[in-house]
């Protein structure tokens, strides 16, 4: 059961990820990204992290991909401007892909990995909360400031600057 599920979900994730790269249209790419996310969320569930799967769908599917779609529609870019890959680029990409596959293969086969998971109880929301607000309190604060400057940054980049600030 789990094996079949894993197979289906991983194929879904990887195949749609490939389509994100290979698709002509930016809108379609965003939709495939969404599908890929769903597959990924399924894998998270298989790994005993349903909460993370939930957050992933909420944040990514709900916010990030929606934002992408919104921007694509807003900018209304020409569809079908799929690049004609130059031979050099393709060669380089194939070479890189070969090297990378080799790397992944060695990574998976040479690495000394635990084959069975540790049998610990599945983490609940409470576990996460406790860790975030005790051990990881400092990074949480820092991330808060990061979100603040990101927000300010978006405002600076989007808002029209008014001269009134130059009051002497």
């Amino acid at each position: 059961m789990a094996d079949t599920l894993f197979l289906i979900l991983s194929v879904l994730t990887v195949a749609t990820a490939l389509l994100v790269v290979l698709n002509k249209n930016a809108v379609n790419a965003a939709m495939f990204l969404l599908l890929s996310l769903v597959g990924l969320a399924g894998l998270f569930v298989l790994l005993d992290a349903p909460l993370l799967a939930f957050v992933l769908i909420l944040v990514y599917a709900g916010a990030v991909v929606a934002l992408f779609l919104f921007i694509i529609m807003l900018l209304d870019t020409r569809p079908g401007s799929f690049p004609a890959f130059k031979p050099l680029t393709v060669t380089a990409a194939l070479l890189g892909a070969a090297l990378l596959s080799l790397g992944i293969w060695t990574l998976v086969h040479r690495a000394v990995l635990p084959l069975t998971p540790k049998s610990v109880p599945m983490p609940t929301m409470k576990h996460y909360a406790e860790m975030l607000f005790t051990t990881y309190l400092l990074p949480v604060q820092v991330v808060g400031f990061m979100l603040l400057i990101a927000m300010l940054g978006v405002i600076v980049l989007s808002k029209k600057y008014t001269e009134t600030e130059d009051a002497k």
Partner: protein
């Protein structure tokens, strides 16, 4: 989880140890609050307040310099105060002070909001300081990303200039790429190190000490080695090392001058502060990392210097010469695997680089026109004759960057070379010498533009070139530049104040 455990964790959260970072955060928030309540949008208080916050923090750090809380890990192992962390704090504070100074020159000429700039600079500074003291990969990544996101915004800050936005986009794409690579490396290390139980306490694979212990026991672990290489690859982007230097010239050219200086000095120094931390963590992997870093260093030196040769734009020149400086510094990093004194040499070099670069960027800020466009070498012609003070400061700054005695940059190179010799890095030294000699070409070209051409009369029939010195230097500007130049000269003759600090 019991309340006892909560209390124990809370007790290890020694917030007082992070006083400087919190001061900056509070100062940054204060800027935003005051902006809302300031009458009639009179924002003259903003730069002085930012400078005051930074200055106050600097004073408290220097006053408590030796108070490093015994060096034990705080916040449950997220942060470790140390002497090198204190040095990093001082470095980033000084650098940000000077960035604010450059901001006061450049920002009023461009029609851009003021408060947000200083706010972001303050937050990024605090994040940089945390980054240099982190002892845990989660803290490390979060602080690093805060810095990086801050820089995305700052680089594209001139939102009405296409160049600035283009630079921002380039920095963003390559920065996010390097972050992803770095993150994947961290994940691999976490996976390899796994769960370690020492003295009954469970440690995870994020904590630096745990990683080190694991690597010492398993120096040939494939997964961890791959992870370490990916982390170093991601950091190579931050310091602008080969092959991740492609963003440097474009982003340096497009970014507003204060941001270029911030990138050149603080961002690069942050990369090296982290590399020096990680050298301790990854020490058992020397057999792999030393050749890789050596190769990186040689390629960086040669690439940086060779591609700087043909540049006419001074910002690109500073960027590419900065790439070569990153190469020299990498030699120090390689040396620090076997010579712990090399870390002090790297910091000394960074401080001399800070002084010299800021002096040069200060002059550039005055020479460039209102929209940062007057940065070609031609714009510096006759500078020494028309503005002898700016010319002198420029000459001292460039001389120090070129490593000419008796300026501070020479002492920096000397200390690095001695460390490299002690670590038997003869091949790297040879490359460095070749690099230094090549660099004389383009630094000399700049000096020639500013000094030598001015004595030749303009060709008959052509109007003399007038470089756009847009802003008349204020007394504060003159004083700052003078302090930078004098410090560069004095440290060349008498490096005791810094060396006594860094080399102990």
């Amino acid at each position: 989880m019991s309340t006892e455990l909560l209390k124990a964790v809370a007790a290890s959260n020694d917030w007082w140890a992070l006083g400087p970072e919190m001061t900056l955060a509070v100062g940054a928030l204060l800027l935003l609050v005051l902006e809302i309540f300031s009458p009639k949008k009179d924002l003259r208080f903003v730069p002085p307040l930012a400078v005051f916050t930074l200055g106050l923090t600097l004073i408290t750090v220097v006053a408590n310099f030796d108070k490093t809380w015994g060096g034990e890990a705080l916040f449950g192992g997220l942060i470790r105060l140390s002497a090198s962390g204190q040095i990093a704090r001082v470095f980033f504070l000084v650098s940000s002070l000077l960035v604010c100074f450059l901001g006061t020159i450049c920002l009023p000429r461009a029609r851009v909001p003021r408060v947000e700039f200083y706010h972001i600079v303050l937050v990024v500074t605090a994040a940089l300081m945390l980054l240099a003291q982190s002892n845990h990969f989660v803290m490390f990544f979060v602080a690093l990303e805060t810095v990086t996101i801050g820089f995305y915004i700052l680089v594209s800050y001139y939102r009405e200039r296409t160049l600035s936005l283009e630079a921002g986009l380039k920095y963003l794409v390559l920065g996010a790429l390097s972050s992803a690579i770095l993150l994947f490396g961290i994940v691999l290390i976490y996976g390899a190190v796994g769960r370690v139980v020492v003295d009954g306490v469970v440690h995870n694979g994020f904590e630096f000490g745990t990683v080190f212990n694991f690597l010492r026991a398993n120096p040939d672990n494939f997964l961890a080695t791959a992870g370490a290489l990916l982390v170093i690859g991601g950091l190579a982007f931050k310091i602008g090392a080969f092959p991740f230097q492609i963003w440097v010239p474009d982003v340096y050219q497009g970014a507003p001058t204060p941001v270029t200086a911030f990138l050149a000095v603080s961002s690069k120094a942050a990369g090296f502060a982290v590399l020096l931390l990680l050298v301790r963590v990854f020490a058992p992997l020397q057999a792999v990392l030393v050749p890789v870093l050596s190769l990186l260093a040689s390629a960086t030196i040669l690439f940086g210097n060779l591609s700087a040769l043909t540049q006419r734009n001074t910002k690109r020149l500073m960027g590419l010469s900065g790439v070569s400086h990153a190469g020299y510094l990498l030699i120090g990093v390689v040396a620090s695997f076997s010579q712990s004194a090399a870390a002090g040499a790297v910091w000394f070099y960074l401080f001399t680089y800070l002084l010299a670069s800021m002096a040069v960027f200060g002059v550039m800020a005055y020479v460039a026109g209102p929209d940062d466009s007057g940065e070609e070498l031609e714009h510096f012609e006759r500078l020494a004759k028309d503005r002898p003070f700016l010319g002198t400061v420029l000459a001292i700054g460039i001389g120090s960057l070129a490593g000419i005695p008796p300026l501070a940059g020479f002492m920096g190179k000397l200390l690095l070379f001695v460390a490299a010799f002690q670590a038997h890095l003869y091949g790297l030294l040879a490359v460095a010498v070749v690099g230094v000699v090549i660099s004389i070409f383009y630094y000399f070209g700049w000096i020639r533009a500013a000094f030598f051409e001015s004595w030749s009369p303009p060709a008959p029939g052509t109007a003399p070139v007038i470089h756009p010195v847009a802003a008349a230097a204020t007394w504060a500007g003159i004083a700052t530049l003078a302090v930078l130049a004098i410090a560069t000269v004095v440290l060349g003759f008498f490096p005791w104040p810094l060396t006594s600090w860094l080399l102990r």
